[in-house]
């Protein structure tokens, strides 16, 4: 086992991110003005980003590379998610500065924990074997438990933390159990292997019993347990139940982080596991994901309609959105000219989803921070009290509905097209029907903002750095909706690396 400079170079973004986390926490001890700490955290994110660009240039020139004897696979697919995580993090820091000031004197630790967790999220898409998957996942999850319970004086927040802790533990146990089955049946932990002497799981599947799904009962049990474990992170029905509770209870920035960054990384690892590791058995899992996608989006949308709390509503919305993205996961077509369509559409949608969901969460954060009221009724009259915030939230919600010219429309178009491409017309139909249903509650929120008078005429002000974050996310909703070509091409290149 040699660890060389090359290995360190390939994980330099993560190393620098962890360094930044230590710096931020340490700075807090010596610097009294928290604004400077936040500035360091935001600007500091440029360092791992630049390192990421370096790695990308290198990978782009020489091709996919592995680090630490294959434990990490650094390709454009992994880098896509690394950049997504960094971007989400920077935006989150900017927008939550105001919100986080209530955490004094533990404000810097809040950022520190987010940074540590993100390091896990960045390693996850690059994981080349099951052990790395598991370790990265835990690295990402543990800080979130503390973060969810960060408002420890608020009962709902501690409850959210505890729920996340227990259910995280359950899902990790299930996941690990599944990995054990996979290892036992195939004798390897490798997801991807470039060395014929050290075959990956996929190679071992081919020799199995063709009459049993995945070539053997043990593998099948392993896959199902792993799916359950990941389903928890994806908010996939029936493993979604924690989502609304935790979103409602956890501090809003943490909910946003879970809804966007954590979910994206979970999709990355699912795509990696199934497309790269288990693709010989694709016929067995793609239908499973198709059915789960249909159920997930339907449950999310239908239950969302009856919600009265806006954070809870976004929780169910996040479940429904996960359902849409699972459509892309299910749309496996093997090889061929359009084989990357499924992955590509998921990657693209994740980018757009990040923009739309962050915009929604940022606006909600800005409002609840002032009003302390996170019921949907509390948004009444927002069109007058905070006209720009209202426009932005409306934009985000219409985007999540899938109304053009937002990225939500284009993204759904690609997802459903991928399903059709994989001969799953029924799934596309379910998807479109679901987006019609979702219009009901998304537009319902818009209606409350504009068409309901409020008895509280106080205008809502937002600090400039939060405006900056909102400007970026809102612009992304429209820009990616009007000119999707650029991101789509990046997503396509990333997708091709996985095949």
């Amino acid at each position: 086992m040699n660890i060389g400079a090359r290995d360190l170079f390939l994980i330099s973004p993560e190393l620098l991110l962890v360094t930044l986390a230590v710096v931020v926490v340490a700075l807090d001890l010596v610097i009294r003005r928290k604004g400077i700490v936040i500035a360091v955290a935001v600007v500091g994110l440029l360092v791992p980003a630049i390192a990421g660009v370096n790695v990308w240039n290198d990978i782009h020139a020489t091709g996919v590379d592995t680090a630490f004897n294959g434990a990490l696979v650094v390709d454009e697919f992994a880098l896509y998610f690394k950049f997504l995580t960094l971007a989400v993090l920077a935006l989150l820091f900017l927008s939550s500065a105001d919100y986080a000031s209530r955490f004094q004197p533990f404000q810097a630790e809040f950022y520190g924990l987010l940074l540590f967790s993100s390091a896990g999220l960045m390693l996850l898409p690059a994981a080349g074997d099951l052990i790395t998957v598991y370790i990265s996942l835990e690295l990402a999850s543990l800080p979130v438990i503390a973060l969810a319970a960060y408002e420890k004086m608020r009962l709902k927040s501690t409850e959210a933390g505890l729920k996340y802790l227990v259910l995280s533990a359950v899902s990790s146990a299930v996941l690990l159990y599944g990995f054990a089955f996979l290892y036992g049946a195939t004798g390897t932990l490798r997801l991807i292997s470039f060395d014929p002497a050290d075959p990956a799981i996929g190679h071992m599947l081919i020799n199995g019993d063709p009459s049993v799904p995945f070539g053997g009962v043990a593998v099948m049990v392993g896959v199902v347990l792993a799916t359950a474990g990941f389903g928890f992170k994806l908010s996939m029905v029936p493993f979604q139940m924690w989502t609304p509770d935790v979103y409602e209870g956890a501090p809003t920035p943490v909910a946003a982080y879970l809804a966007v960054a954590s979910k994206a990384a979970a999709f990355a690892v699912v795509l990696r596991l199934f497309y790269a590791g288990l693709d010989p058995a694709a016929a067995d899992w793609s239908l499973m994901f198709a059915v789960l996608a249909a159920i997930t989006m339907t449950v999310g949308n239908v239950v969302a309609i009856a919600q009265t709390n806006v954070k809870r509503l976004l929780g169910y919305s996040a479940i429904a959105q996960a359902g849409y993205m699972l459509v892309g996961v299910a749309a496996y077509v093997g090889s061929g000219p359009d084989a990357e369509l499924g992955i590509e559409s998921v990657l693209f949608y994740l980018g757009g989803y990040a923009a739309m969901n962050l915009t929604a969460f940022f606006v909600i954060m800005a409002i609840t921070n002032r009003t302390g009221d996170d019921s949907i009724e509390g948004l009444a009259g927002l069109g007058k009290r905070a006209p720009i915030l209202a426009v932005l939230l409306a934009l985000a919600l219409l985007g999540l509905t899938g109304i053009p010219p937002t990225v939500g429309f284009v993204g759904k178009l690609f997802l459903f097209n991928a399903a059709i491409n994989a001969d799953m017309v029924w799934l596309a139909v379910v998807g479109v029907l679901n987006s019609v249903v979702s219009a009901y509650y998304y537009v319902g929120v818009v209606r409350v903002m504009y068409l309901r008078e409020s008895d509280n005429p106080a205008r809502i002000t937002v600090p400039p750095y939060a405006w900056a974050a909102l400007a970026v996310t809102a612009a992304a909703i429209l820009v990616l909706g009007l000119w999707p070509g650029g991101l789509l091409e990046v997503a396509r290149q990333a997708a091709l690396d996985l095949l």
């Binding site: 299930v174 799904p213 139940m241 499973m288 000219p337 053009p404 690609f414 097209n417 537009v443 068409l451």
Partner: protein
Amino acid sequence: MINEAAVWAIVGLPLLGGLIIIAGLRPWTQSLWRLSGYVGIGAMAGAFALSLWALNSVRGHHGESVGFDPHSWVTVGGDAAEGAFELTIGVLLDPLSAIMAVVVTGVSMLVQVYSLGYMRKEADEHSGKFVDYPRYFAYMSFFTAAMLGLVLAYNLVQTFVFWELVGLFSYLLIGFWFHRPAAAAAAKKAFIVTRIGDFGFMLALMWLFSHRDEFLVRGQNPFEIPDINSAAPLLSAGLVTWAALGLFAGAVGKSAQFPLNTWLPDAMEGPTPVSSLIHAATMVAAGVFLVARVFPLFEASSSVMNVVALTGGVTAVLAATMALATTDIKRVLAFSTVSQLGYMFIALGVGAPGVALFHLFNHAFFKCLLFLSAGSVHHSVQTFDMRYMGGLRAWMPVTYGLTIISGLSLAGVFPFAGFWSKDEILAAAWAVDPSAPGTSAVAQIVFWLALIAAGMTAFYVFRLIIMTFHGEFRGGIDAVPMDERIPDEAHNHVHKGESPTSMVAPMLVLGVMAVISGAAFNSVTKLGPVPAHWFSHLFNEDSPELVAWIAVASMTVALGGIVLAIAIYGLKLVDLSRMPKQWHALNRVLEQRYYMDYFYETLVVRRALFRGVFLASDWLDRKVVDGTVDFVGWTGRNAGKWVAQLQTGQVQAYGVGVSVGVILLLWAYLVRS
């Protein structure tokens, strides 16, 4: 010959106008609010001029498009060279889009001029609140821009994008007075109901995409309109039928045809000029336009054509009966629009898109005028309830005269505009070859339906005229009981006088068109500079022969309706209050619009869906979980003492959920293998 940039500018100018109003003028609203109206009108006038140029350019093209190649927008799956699928964006200029662009920009411009006077009260000098006035003109500009984008779109995805934008801006316009609950509810209803139709549109797009191989082998693109139209006769029957049906579902939603007709009357809650624009040229016309746009696709499937014709026929009659018993002047006109759109779908369904467009063209003018007249009436009496009007001709001679003209046009009386196109529709339905199996029966049915609706049309429009302008004045807003008034109009008063010039002038222009647009643009003989059948030839279509007995029959039916209306409401030869009980029951059914709204809203949406499904699933999510918890807690109390402190205990149930999920998945696999 027009160039491509100029065609784009038809969409771009109103968009720019809207942006200038919303972004450029906003900081100086206090002093510059007046300017916003002129900016909107100016931008629209520019677009109108460009549209005329475009129309001039497509003359003599015999229905062919002026070739502007589309631009690549997004490539799906690699480079175009590798046979990847390309989504394009571009403008499609042909007689259909050119004539629509002229109508949309022309009507929108006139409506905005009218709005200068009508919306004047939105700029309130006393309270210093000026924002609503520019907001209105900005929405109008955006709305029209979206409609123009739809009209000029080169491919169906582009059409769909603008189609949704039209819906979005109509939502903003219908809900313009959002502080009125009825307006807010109507806006949402319009948005949701039309989305049900959009569901069909989206499915049609996917259906086309999934059958893209049929296009790709010919080197064509499944979304590009010219390709669809040229390939339509060669495509497989399944592809054509389902794609056409899906698109038709979208058209039914947008054009408020049965059974999605319920949103349009409620949309009357928006400002009257908005209703006028929505009903005349934009939004509802989009459905008719869409079918005409990909007409070869519809033509390739005779069963879909029958569906279109029958939907049109049923809607024409159904909506006309609803109009018979309505007392709100704008709602009468709304039902009338639905009914007239039914006529257009009849024309499409019997294979005469040029005739449908001709009726759309004429209808745009007289229906716009009718709405503007209703707005003018409201300007004076401050209510839309005809039970409180009467005798208005005494002080509104111009409005009265123009309403008569547009009413005669709507009723289809010779020689007004409506007569020509309505007659062509009847003739086209009659002319369908009786030897064609299946088709002839449908054509016959819709012919008679259309004739019946023509009589009703004449009746309700003259009922409207008599109730509004004749007889004794019944007090206007001053006579409306306080509890029936809209809160912000509670303290308005009747003002006896004609509306201001800015309102009357555009009405006069429309009045001229309502008289001549039928005879002048598609006359049977050469008429000065206009050649015979100019409109039909624009679409490379022979206009149906004017059948003498049909013309006489439709005139007779129309005059019969008018005479009946005068006899009942004018001369009061029949005392309506002394009619038998059954008559009142029927009246009630009509007033309640056959209980369609009740059925949809109360039964389907509230009871069945909301109470049933949504609340039940929420309940399941919260409570059944709790029930499981009790069970789990009971079995494993010691393992989870901390649960008691939280007093919810749901966590364990969630754990159970994970296990159940795993078991279900395993079970599914075992069943399969």
